[in-house]
């Protein structure tokens, strides 16, 4: 495993969707395994919203030696997305013009911008062909964007619990999360805003059944109700804990910019239609949906599969039957693993 930072050459040549440019773009990335002589073993992993380049850390059941994405066989690349806060240029980075962190002066970015930056990274590694681009949630959007931007480079594409256009439900939850941060920023309390945004987000990544199984109505400390405003139910303490823990590893400005980028994602808007976005591709697709996901619903993944079926693409559509909701692909990974493994073996 190696961790490196790539320096984007001539960053001013990359005009972002918003029309602005960045004076400096750094991309933090990890590689695992060895690149083979004909470069036919490259797998690019695109991380979800709050992931980073350390794919082995956040996807430990899927990526690694002997696992579905076997780092003994494949050369795996994973980079922190533009706008992130784990080594890649984002709103928490220092603005070379001011010597201060960008904060809200950072230009608004899109999934398309992220992929353009990632393409420059891949080119810098001397790689022309990607055997598989894979990602869940926001990572799935990046995978689809890759196929749309660079159809000749991608042999196969695996979007998991993702969509071709982000739904108003997702936009709504993300907006509340951002509003919380923006309100708290006024009080110079960005971190507490982020903790609250994470709590809200976390609920949307689970499901009713998952919450019922994990917490039911169990109380955290006492056996009886205290009839007070302090957190009593286990689920409350859990969310508090998740919020606090998140603040230690994530930046609230990045959360603002990444969720906004997600909200803008719509292949119809960017390419005229999903058909136009994906028609040039000769990639094989594995579309993975999660039945209990009520945020990025199975019907959205199915709609993507239908488009690909109409376009006569090689597509496999699979539904994972799990109670864990959106987060299934990260936690309850057995079926995810089997599907990815089988698909990779067929390539």
């Amino acid at each position: 495993m190696t961790y490196s930072v790539f320096n984007f050459e001539n960053p001013e040549k990359l005009v972002l969707d918003c029309g602005e440019t960045l004076p400096k773009i750094e991309v933090a990335y990890n590689t695992y395994g060895e690149l083979n002589h004909d470069q036919s073993n490259v797998i690019l992993i695109c991380h979800p919203l709050t992931g980073d380049s350390e794919a082995l850390n956040w996807w430990p059941k899927i990526v690694g030696p002997g696992l579905a994405i076997d780092t003994n066989h494949y050369f795996v690349v994973c980079s922190n997305a533009l706008g992130g806060c784990n080594g890649t240029t984002g709103p928490a980075s220092i603005n070379p013009k001011t010597g201060q962190p960008y904060g809200l002066d950072f230009p608004v970015i899109t999934i398309s911008d992220m992929v353009k930056v990632q393409r420059a990274l891949i080119a810098s590694l001397g790689i022309n062909k990607i055997k598989m681009v894979i990602g869940g949630s926001m990572g799935g959007m990046m995978a689809l964007e890759w196929v749309s931007q660079a159809p000749d480079q991608i042999d196969s594409c695996v979007p998991i619990a993702s969509t071709t256009k982000v739904s108003p439900l997702v936009i709504a939850f993300d907006a509340v999360g951002r509003n919380t941060i923006l309100e708290q920023l006024k009080l110079d309390q960005g971190s507490s805003g982020l903790a609250l945004a994470r709590q809200l987000g976390h609920i949307t990544y689970l499901s009713e059944d998952a919450l019922e199984k994990k917490f039911s109505r169990k109380l955290q400390v006492s056996e009886k109700y205290t009839y007070s405003m302090s957190p009593e139910f286990q689920v409350e303490s859990y969310l508090n804990y998740q919020g606090k823990k998140f603040v230690d590893r994530f930046n609230y400005f990045s959360y603002l910019y990444l969720t906004k980028a997600v909200s803008y994602f719509d292949l119809n808007q960017a390419y005229g239609s999903v058909e136009q976005a994906l028609s040039q591709s000769s990639a094989k697709f594995l579309v993975l949906a999660i039945r209990s996901d009520w945020l990025y619903t199975a019907s959205q993944s199915k709609a993507l599969a239908y488009e690909l079926m109409k376009l006569n693409k090689h597509v496999a559509y699979v539904e994972i039957d799990s109670d864990y909701g959106h987060d299934t692909f990260l936690i309850d990974s057995e079926e995810t693993r089997d599907a990815i493994k089988s698909f990779l073996e067929s390539l």
Partner: protein, 200 residues
């Protein structure tokens, strides 16, 4: 492959585009691809079967047959196959019509309730038929449609679906050569039909 699968296999020409509904683990499509250069697509509900089909490199939709069928453009296949599943679908007529829409030819196989052993069951035991082909009790059977070969011929006639070929499934090779079609409803365990719906 079972006998009826071999018969279906033999009815498909080289390089045809094939849709297999209820394709299981994609065995037939795999053989068609490797031995006849066919291009295939499968629809299957069961996750574990789907995973095996994916490993075989079969493009596949996990879900409901009718739901999957509706996504394809008209005449996007040369052949659509529904093997041993018609008796399990809720809306067989809709499935049949959709198959005719998406495909040039349609191959249907189903267990024949007109088979003499089934009739004997009912006649002498007075019990809902249970045979090797139809091994279920009435209360746990997935076979919610009771179809005989005569029923099926009539359905095709009613919906102006042309029967291109009817293949009697008889195990004895000699019988297979000299089998009169009018006896199939009594003597065969399975109906195998090749159909086509002419454009109106």
């Amino acid at each position: 492959m079972k006998l009826y699968q071999k018969i279906v296999f033999n009815q498909i020409k080289s390089n045809e585009r094939v849709l297999d509904l209820g394709c299981g683990s994609g065995l037939l499509l795999d053989k068609l691809r490797t031995e006849k250069g066919c291009e295939g697509y499968g629809i299957e509900k069961n996750f574990d079967e789907v995973i095996i089909a994916i490993k075989r490199g079969i493009p596949i939709f996990q879900g409901d047959i009718i739901e999957g069928l509706k996504q394809f453009e008209s005449k996007s296949f040369d052949v659509a196959i529904l093997s041993q599943t018609l008796q399990q679908v809720i809306s067989p007529v809709e499935v049949l019509k959709e198959m005719c829409r998406v495909s040039n030819r349609v191959i249907i196989t189903f267990p024949n309730f007109g088979y003499w052993k089934v009739r004997m069951n009912l006649l002498f035991k007075g019990l809902s038929p249970k045979t090797k082909q139809l091994p279920y009790e009435w209360y746990d059977t997935p076979n919610i449609r009771v179809i005989t070969i005569n029923d099926f011929r009539r359905l095709c006639y009613q919906h102006q679906i042309r029967i291109l070929k009817e293949i009697p499934l008889v195990k004895n090779k000699f019988q297979r050569v000299f089998f009169p079609l009018r006896l199939t409803n009594f003597f065969t365990e399975k109906g195998i039909f090749i159909l086509k719906k002419d454009e109106c």
